[in-house]
Every structure is written in structure tokens, then in C-alpha cells.
Amino acid sequence: MSDQFISMKQMRENFPEYKAGLERGKTYTIIYRSKPLARLTPISSGPKYTKEDREKVRKLAGKVQGGKDLTPEKLNKLIDESYEDVLS
């Protein structure tokens, strides 16, 4: 796949588009003041999580005791309270 040439301005203004391109494996050459400045290439085609990464989740989880009756609805209300904290 050949590089796509883009200016710094294009990069700044349309970053999500180029990020998506990088995630699809595209490579870009960045032009600054009419000259090629840098080549932007994706580091990899995706994450490579291991069994250890999955096992780590259980080690990191459950640090707080409680929350027995905290349903998603109650949790939403609790988060809404953070606004009331500031306003009251």
C-alpha cells in the first residue's frame, strides 16, 4: 500500500479520519512547508492480549467492599448527585 501525503493542517483538522486509517494499516507521509517531514506508520495491526492480561483483570478487580444494592439505575442517580454537590 503506498503512502498518502497529508499536510500538518489536514492532520490537525481531521485526526479521527487518519487515526482510523492507521488502524486499518495505512501509512501517511506528513508534509510541512511543502516538504516531506515524517512518515506515520501504525505500530501494529492490533493488540495481542495474552492469558496473563485476562487473569490480571481478576487481580485488579474488587478492591472496594460494598455495592450490594447498587443497581445501574441507582448508580446513575449517584453520578447525577455529583452535579448537585457543586450547585448546592
Binding site: A20, E23, P47, R54, K63, G66, G67, K68
Partner: protein
């Protein structure tokens, strides 16, 4: 080359991940383990962390079982230690801020939730892991896929 699968973690997934006694605790662990198994790139935002810290703080205050700040520190550390989790933010250009109003109107979202949606759309994220039913219209419309 494959397009990377991306997922944004809502505050409630992070909260239930940390709350040992919650009936949703195991489900939150299962979600994250499955995201790893399916090789998703994981994202959350300072906005979600703000909600997460507030909810955890209130739970600790209510239960009175643990000291607040050391526990909050340990909890935040554990979230940020999740492999491959990146923090992303909302765009700062002026035009994007008006999307918030459109999202609030079209999907009956609260301002805060509209900002979560803006973050996900701006960063081209395909999936959203949440327990929040306020996003049902967003999922029904195909704006995001529920994980």
C-alpha cells in the same frame, strides 16, 4: 490488514469491576475478559473516571468499611493498570460542541452522556460497554454497537 476492534468502557463497567459485593461485579469482569479475548483496543476517558471516582467515593462513605483516599488511590491505580487501556478526550474545536445538542435532542441523552457519545464518535470507536439503558436509542439507531 484488519481494522482494529475498539471499545469504550463506561464508568459503570469500571465501578462494578471495583465493587466486590455488587451483583454486577462478575458481569463487569466477564465483559473485560471477553474484550481481551476478542482483542479489542480499550478506551475510557477522564469524564468516565470522574464519574467512577465519585461513585466509588460515595460507596466507601456509605459502607464505612475502608478509608477513602487510600482506597480511591488503589482503585484508580487498578483501573489504569488494565492492559492496553488508553484515555481519550472530547474534541476541543467549536463546531463539535454543537453535536452535543444534536445528540441530546436525537437520542434523549443527558449532557454528560452526549459528551461520552461525542468522545466515541470523534475517536471512531465502534463498541460501547455499558450497563446504562439511557443509550438504547443510540444502539437502536446503529450509532454505536453495544458490547
Amino acid at each position: 490488514m484488519n481494522h482494529m476492534k475498539t471499545c469504550y468502557l463506561d464508568a459503570n463497567v469500571l465501578v462494578y469491576l471495583c465493587l466486590h459485593d455488587s451483583p454486577f461485579h462478575k458481569k463487569a469482569i466477564d465483559i473485560i475478559e471477553k474484550l481481551y479475548l476478542d482483542q479489542y483496543v480499550l478506551y475510557t476517558s477522564p469524564l468516565a473516571l470522574d464519574e467512577h471516582i465519585h461513585a466509588i467515593k460515595r460507596t466507601i462513605q456509605k459502607e464505612k468499611l475502608q478509608s477513602i483516599y487510600p482506597t480511591l488511590h488503589a482503585v484508580l491505580e487498578s483501573i489504569l493498570d488494565l492492559t492496553g487501556l488508553s484515555l481519550i478526550n472530547s474534541p476541543t474545536d467549536l463546531a463539535s460542541q454543537f453535536h452535543i445538542l444534536t445528540y441530546m435532542k436525537d437520542y434523549s441523552l443527558k449532557t454528560r452522556d452526549a459528551y461520552h457519545l461525542l468522545i466515541m464518535k470523534y475517536h471512531d470507536i465502534s463498541h460501547f460497554a455499558t450497563f446504562d439503558e439511557d443509550f438504547e436509542k443510540v444502539f437502536a439507531d446503529g450509532m454505536m454497537e453495544k458490547y
